[in-house]
Amino acid sequence: MAEAHPVGFQWVMEAKRRGATVIHVDPRFSRTSAMADLFVPLRAGTDIVFLGALISYVIENERYFRDYVVSYTNAPVILRDDYRDTEDLDGLFSGWQEEKGQYEGPTWRYESTEHKGEDSQQTPESHAERSAQMAGPKVKAHDTDFTLQHPRCVFQVLKRHFARYTPQMVEEACGISQEQFHKVAKHLCHNSGRERTTAFCYAVGWTQHSAGAQFIRAAAILQLLLGNIGRPGGGVMALRGHATIQGSTDIPTLFNLLPGYLPMPKAGTDKSLAEYLENYTARSGWWTEFPKYMISLLKAWFGDAATQNNDYCFDYLPKITGDHSHMTTVVNMADGDLDGYLVMGQNPVVGSPNAGLQRKGLRNLKWLVVRDFYLVETAEFWKDSPEHERGEVSAETIGTEVFFFPASTHVEKDGSFTQTQRVAQWHHEAIAPPADCRSELHFAYHLGKRLKELYANSSDPKDRPIQDLAWEYPVHDARDEPSAEAVLAEVNGYTVADRKPVDGYLKLKDDGSTACGCWIYSGIYAGGVNHAAKKNRATDHYGYGPEWGFAWPSNRHILYNRAAADPQGRPWSERKALVWWDEVKKEWTGYDTPDFMKTVPPDYRAAEDSQGTQTISGDDPFILHPDGKGWLFAPAGLQDGPMPTHYEPFESPVHNPLYGQQCNPVRLEYDRSDNQMAKPIADPRFPYVITTYRLTEHHTTGGMSRWLSWLAELQPGMFCEISPELAREKQLRNGDWAVVSTPRAEIETRVLVTERMRPIKLGRRTVHQIGMPYHWGNRGLVTGDSTNELLAFGADPNSTIQESKALIGDIRPGRRDHSKAITKEATNAPEEELRDLPIARHRPIGKHHVHAPSSKQGDQT
């Protein structure tokens, strides 16, 4: 966190000053470790073993917050009797469909679940979507055991699932001593309960594993057991925000989401608005409000053209036909199936895995648009790349037409950043952008304008979406810069009749009388005031700063904060009071905007036939879940299991110590000759673990730092970090050159020998880890080989995020031969080298593995 989020880390230092214990768990000793009270190094990719053992410790030693767990989580809920655990099936859950390579069926559900429509787990392209969560179960009270003793209740199932995650297993799998494990466990338990809370913070590297979503789930389960969710000082903090990553999922750049986490409609199943709303509107919980948000969004986009009679122009929305995530898009490019590509503020040739395959994709496009501050590697791939260096391609042979648009920096435009705690903060244009540099808003707005002009006279029905798109924003100055505040007003929402801003999402309607660009941000422009631009320092109880920017939703700083009070609505303790029920005024109140219906008392109980938000009882803090409870066991929404399970990374030096199933069976793996994989287990050619990361001095792929002398001089070249033990083993000297190789490529790097890297002891075996920052490429003031040449296409099935934190490779002294291939492309591992042993071995070809047509293979390499 100190390394990648130094500004946010000031609050950790503040907490430390006030007596907090800081524990850092990481494969390497970083700047964060230097500030920690306890440093716990582990083998990269074994986090679920560690967290699972903590879960087991908390349960076995009865250190969980019982009142919280019983009332606010699904611990008492009884599961179906045909559910089978990974303990029963050696690493698989029930519902595994070997021929399809995915889980199906109802076995993960609550015993009493009423389900609507079709099975949400069955849609083949359903990874990374939230439909299942929205249309999830409705639970009846009689299918619970509040004593938590029933063998099929969630609590007992969870206990059994993690029973073999012991301190001994942690020692064997993660390389963490039992003594250290117990220290962490004791700190956690001591700092949780009524009077104290613990926070988990992770930088997004935690998601970059083939079971990344489950890593986060494991932390969430632990926090629910300890009663640390919805309470001050608790939570699981995703450290996002370079510079508005949170904002980029809220109003998404993702292929499968519309603004405000509404699912993108799918071809086949969402043919009409009615069908779409039926598929995703929940029967209980807050997502029963879904139609209001969707119809208001359509009104914001299509204005007067959107009427009840034409489904509010729902037909105009594109429908997704499958996985359109980054890596799948790139392999489609490489196979010649894509014409054009817009890259805005991104540098995939350096920042995305398997850089060779990324470039192959770009070479097979007809056109490419890059918007950036500098001519980054992605913009110059056509004239300078490792393939050029060794004479395989030349500018003359690449047909891609590249357009470069210089971009404004954040001080040269108005707009907002949404930081990691969902606080949107406005920034103002301080100086005009130089020359032809323009904002993204300018680019998108004028592109839309030109498209509308081009299609103005068309009578072809397919052009109606462009013709009917509401695209009127005031412009100013000689650049015709559109007003960012006008966009914010649309995001906030308004009543259609008078265009007055609405006060918040509670005012949105499903009858076309309101429009709203993103329901969760509604209220950010209430009263016609830009609340994101507020900059009044915090004077409130906890220093959240309600007058500093705007925290979506409803300027609420802690989500699910109803859980900060006990079931009767009283704070769990005075010390940790946040939100409580005011018996006199008959309303929820406190130090934060309550995350609950303001006047619904704690003793309200939803009736069997309740509808809409009335299905949420007074003791249901997790209002977005259809059952109002925190999910220790996720009955829907995940592709790879209802509970986290340890799987080895898809390339690992060891066997999975817990199950026969080696890797996440549902992982996305791209089985292609241009994406070579190592042998699944202990490939002798690649004996070391590689983990990748950022440095403070550079920003991601260097587009904002490698072209700036003051930052470039601070970390002027690519290096790797290794332990003195590995240096001795491989005769590597500090400061010298070395070559690091994986099945995909080999790159050269300087060597930093440091005791901050430690060999991991797994029983009698020692595993060495190589640490690699990934900021360099072949352009800019400081250059170097890119770590992403080494990585593979392969991802978490829920999020389609690549596995880049744990892989295997080799290292040797010296420099690479620049005339030889940096990337390798050959045949895959022979058939007998099965990637999954002994079960789930026959993963079907085609679903996640996009095979390159053989005719393409010779073209570019």
């Binding site: 100190a2 130094p6 000031q10 230097a34 500030m35 920690a36 001095e697 601070l714 901050r756």
Partner: protein, 261 residues
């Protein structure tokens, strides 16, 4: 009254924002792009174009009170703006002066590049620019202070490792911080240059540091002394010597005359 820095190295996270903020505000050039292999330090030392510099020290021992088995000390070094400044006292042109803020400042329009200041600094801070030969160092952001702003490095520091203010107030704050650290078990914490008593050779530093290991570990001199510190004594000794020599000459002359006579 004097303004200065209290640099608390125990909360430095090594982000180098101070180095960058300093270079940006003062529009200083880079020092070249050299991978050093010295931990995360690639700018190495203070100089004509680096007025804040963060050192990274890897130690195989943990800090008292922590359970990390290892420690990585980070410290942002800067001109100390000594109470008795060797550079200032060595400067023959009067280019180096004491400002109204108590800082030591090089007037670039007066400096003739003689370099006497360089040999006068016991910390090796002040440095001549290779291009024009003039001497450069931290100005304690004289221009920012004139406008009521704190220096760029202190402003940029996310963890308040660099604190700017009235030196006496800072010293009070620093002494309390040392006490707090001692209570927490970090017994090795102490102030470097916190007063004239502990560092007579400089008369105390207006930019002083809280350290947890010997000064040498941070590339700081254990017992710095401004060369001009002993100037009076030297002149007295020289005077005495001269008198002695003169007396000896007189005596020998007399003795010689007597002998001859």
């Amino acid at each position: 009254m004097a303004n200065g820095f209290f640099t608390d190295t125990t909360v430095c996270i090594g982000c180098k924002a101070c180095e960058v903020a300093c270079k940006q505000w003062n529009q200083l050039p880079d020092d070249g792009y050299h991978f050093t292999g010295m931990s995360f330090d690639n700018t190495m030392h203070l100089g004509a174009s680096t007025w804040r510099h963060v050192s990274f020290i890897e130690r195989p021992v943990a800090l008292n009170g922590s359970d990390t088995g290892f420690s990585w000390l980070m410290a942002s070094d800067v001109c100390k703006h000594c109470a008795r400044a060797g550079c200032l006292e060595n400067c023959p042109t009067g280019a180096i002066m004491r400002t109204e803020f108590g800082s030591v400042y090089v007037q670039q329009d007066v400096c003739n590049g003689c370099g006497y200041c360089v040999s006068g600094c016991p910390f090796g801070v002040i440095d001549r620019n290779h291009d024009d030969g003039r001497a450069w160092k931290c100005t304690l952001c004289y221009d920012r202070q004139k406008d009521g702003l704190e220096p760029a490095c202190a402003k940029a520091c996310p963890t308040d490792s660099i604190q700017f203010g009235d030196v006496e107030e800072l010293k009070e704050r620093a002494r309390k911080r040392v006490e707090t650290l001692h209570e927490k078990g970090v017994k090795e914490a102490y102030l470097y240059g916190g007063d004239a008593a502990s560092q007579p050779g400089t008369g105390g530093l207006n930019a002083f540091f809280l350290l947890v290991d010997k000064p040498e570990v941070y590339n700081l001199p254990p017992d710095p002394e401004v060369p001009t510190m002993r100037a009076n004594q030297s002149w007295k000794s020289a005077g005495l010597a001269a008198i002695g020599v003169a007396a000896l000459a007189l005596v020998s002359a007399l003795v010689g005359r007597t002998a001859r006579g």
